[in-house]
């Protein structure tokens, strides 16, 4: 009995170490964004000057707004199209359904490097130059499968006879969807939307290949800054990004249990 307790203790300590490994670098980065020294000299001297510099950096601010704007558009499109597709998979059975569902995996499973360069080649060939429309096309395609998977998971808990009951009471197909089905899957749709937003807002690889160099998204700007030799200003903006994306995911967790038990 005591040995079991000892092992349990070890397990907890191990979990603690893993969490330390996951969060320590992020915390260091956040701390360093408040370090006055440009060369990260320790011990650090507290300063908010890099945040001030950031607030005057037109290039970063413009790209941040562009990233937010793109992510919003992607969220709206991907959530709409993805929810419709999930509903179709739930309601109807038709030949080829299984194949269509399997086709959702390539966008998730193929390395983004390949997907991104393939998009670059194709879009360029059909006359869509590098720029925001190309980025939105690409991001939405990557976010769609996530929405479909999340909404489908929520629909799996939906009692089909509720739709039958609504129809037996005289409701049309659209009335059934609006009054019965959508309220039930609402939490899944919201979670899917938040996923889409995160996929787009954090997306670097696709944007790297598809965005117009002078007119690009925040992660691409950060990447080039890192490559050029970074300053704590990048720490500042990176810290803000982490806060935003973790905030979104905490919100998503309220609507979608990752643990699967609902």
């Amino acid at each position: 009995m005591q040995r079991a307790a000892f092992y349990r203790g070890c397990g907890r300590v191990f979990l603690g170490l893993v969490l330390f490994f996951l969060y320590a670098p992020i915390l260091v980065m956040a701390l360093m964004s408040f370090n006055a020294s440009e060369f990260y000299v320790l011990p650090m001297e507290f300063s908010t000057k890099w945040y001030e510099a950031l607030s005057r950096n037109e290039e970063i601010l413009a790209s941040a707004w562009r990233s937010l704007w793109i992510a919003s558009v992607v969220t709206v499109i991907a959530t709409g199209l993805g929810t419709a597709a999930a509903l179709a998979f739930f309601r109807y059975s038709f030949p080829g359904k299984r194949i269509l569902q399997v086709l959702l995996f390539p966008p998730i499973a193929i390395p983004w490097l390949i997907t991104g360069t393939a998009m670059l080649i194709f879009f360029f060939s059909i006359g869509i130059d590098r720029g925001t429309p190309a980025v939105i096309l690409g991001h939405t395609a990557l976010a769609l499968p996530y929405v479909i998977v999340v909404v489908t998971a929520r629909l799996a808990t939906f009692d089909r006879t509720l739709e039958d009951a609504a129809r037996s009471l005289g409701a049309s197909s659209w009335q059934v969807t609006r009054a019965v089905t959508l309220p039930w899957i609402a939490s899944g749709v919201v979670a899917g939307a938040l996923f889409s937003f995160a996929v787009s807002f954090d997306q670097f690889v696709i944007s790297y290949f598809l965005a117009e160099p002078g007119d690009t998204t925040l992660p691409v700007i950060i990447y080039s800054a890192i490559r050029k030799g970074f300053t704590p200003e990048i720490n500042a903006v990176s810290t803000l990004i982490i806060l935003v994306s973790m905030g979104i995911m905490l919100l998503a967790a309220r609507y979608f249990r990752f643990g699967g038990e609902r």
């Binding site: 349990r8 397990g11 191990f14 979990l15 893993v18 969490l19 490994f21 996951l22 320590a24 670098p25 992020i26 260091v28 980065m29 990260y40 320790l42 011990p43 199209l81 419709a84 597709a85 509903l87 179709a88 059975s93 038709f94 390539p106 966008p107 499973a109 193929i110 390395p111 983004w112 490097l113 390949i114 360069t117 393939a118 998009m119 080649i121 194709f122 060939s125 096309l137 690409g138 939405t140 769609l144 499968p145 197909s173 995160a198 954090d202 670097f204 790297y208 950060i222 990447y223 890192i226 490559r227 990176s238 990004i241 982490i242 994306s245 979104i248 995911m249 998503a252 643990g259 699967g260």
Partner: protein
């Protein structure tokens, strides 16, 4: 009557599905096909450039040793990172699923997978700050140890491995946790009532039942790591030349798109092979 009903259902299904799948076709499937076509071209077919169909791009992969060396190096990187993620992630998932009880579990689980959904570029960047010479590590070691040390991991193979493990660890924790949680505690209780020691219970019941989840996580890590280029560029510096970075070069520096397409397809082929081999086990995971 039944036939027309089926047709009406098919029509409704098509109405709901076609926007999503047209989008995927335009942005994923057609681009992949176009890339496949490009991989057989001698030059990009734009403007008045001369081009013809050729196998030369694939030939380059097999003739030039450097591509093969880098290909194997990327596979090795993938294996190393995947293995480390399993060794760290599976026990971690086990602790979460079977040791920790009550409300704390969900919060801890969320805490573990939260970084996974935050910006990967930024997380790699955070390691650049931690690992640089005269940085946080040296400073903390100096504070603890009585003698001077200097650890400079930045721009090395280990730095790339650390960054990638950090990026992809939550994957294997997520899939293993879901699989482990699905193992009914009653099964374990039943095995104990039959007198099985803890080691046997783990090896004969818990591990086999959660193996599909573990493998799913492994595949989900291996595939993107083999194709990674941003992480090696930032953390590897000169030691960070891999297969992925060579492909990237073809598109952003050398502008040899056909060669880049061919190299991508070699990688894609390897990825599909791995997915195909592991798919029977992965199917059981669902």
């Amino acid at each position: 009557m039944a036939a027309s009903l089926a047709r009406r259902e098919a029509f409704r299904a098509a109405t709901l599905l076609s926007p999503a799948y047209l989008w995927l076709t335009l942005a994923v499937f057609l681009p992949l096909s176009a890339m496949f076509f490009f991989s057989f071209l001698s030059d990009v077919p734009f403007g008045d450039r001369e081009w013809e169909l050729t196998f030369a791009n694939y030939g380059a992969f097999f003739e030039k040793r450097v591509y093969q060396i880098l290909f194997w190096r990327s596979l090795e990187l993938g294996l190393t990172v995947t293995l480390l993620c399993i060794l760290i992630g599976y026990p971690c998932a086990y602790v979460l699923a079977k040791v920790i009880r009550g409300r704390g579990r969900e919060a801890l689980f969320l805490l573990v997978i939260l970084p996974f959904w935050s910006n990967s570029l930024v997380r790699i960047f955070s390691w650049a700050i931690v690992l640089r010479g005269n940085g946080v590590i040296d400073y903390s070691l100096d504070a603890i140890l009585p003698f001077e040390v200097s650890v400079n991991l930045m721009f090395s193979y280990p730095a790339v491995v650390i960054g990638l493990v950090h990026s992809y660890l939550p994957y294997v924790i997520l899939t293993s946790y879901l699989a482990l949680q699905a193992v009914d505690d009653e099964l374990i209780a039943a095995a104990r009532s039959l007198g099985a020691p803890a080691r046997t219970i783990f090896l004969r019941i818990i591990l086999p039942l959660s193996l599909p989840g573990l493998l799913a996580g492994a595949v989900l890590i291996f595939v993107p790591v083999v194709g990674s280029f941003m992480e090696p560029r930032i953390l590897g510096g000169r030691a960070g030349t891999f297969y992925g970075t060579v492909i990237e070069d073809q598109f952003t520096a050398v502008f040899n798109w056909p060669l880049g397409a061919a190299l991508s397809f070699v990688l894609l082929f390897a990825v599909l092979l791995i997915l195909a081999v592991s798919s029977p086990v992965l199917k059981r995971a669902q």
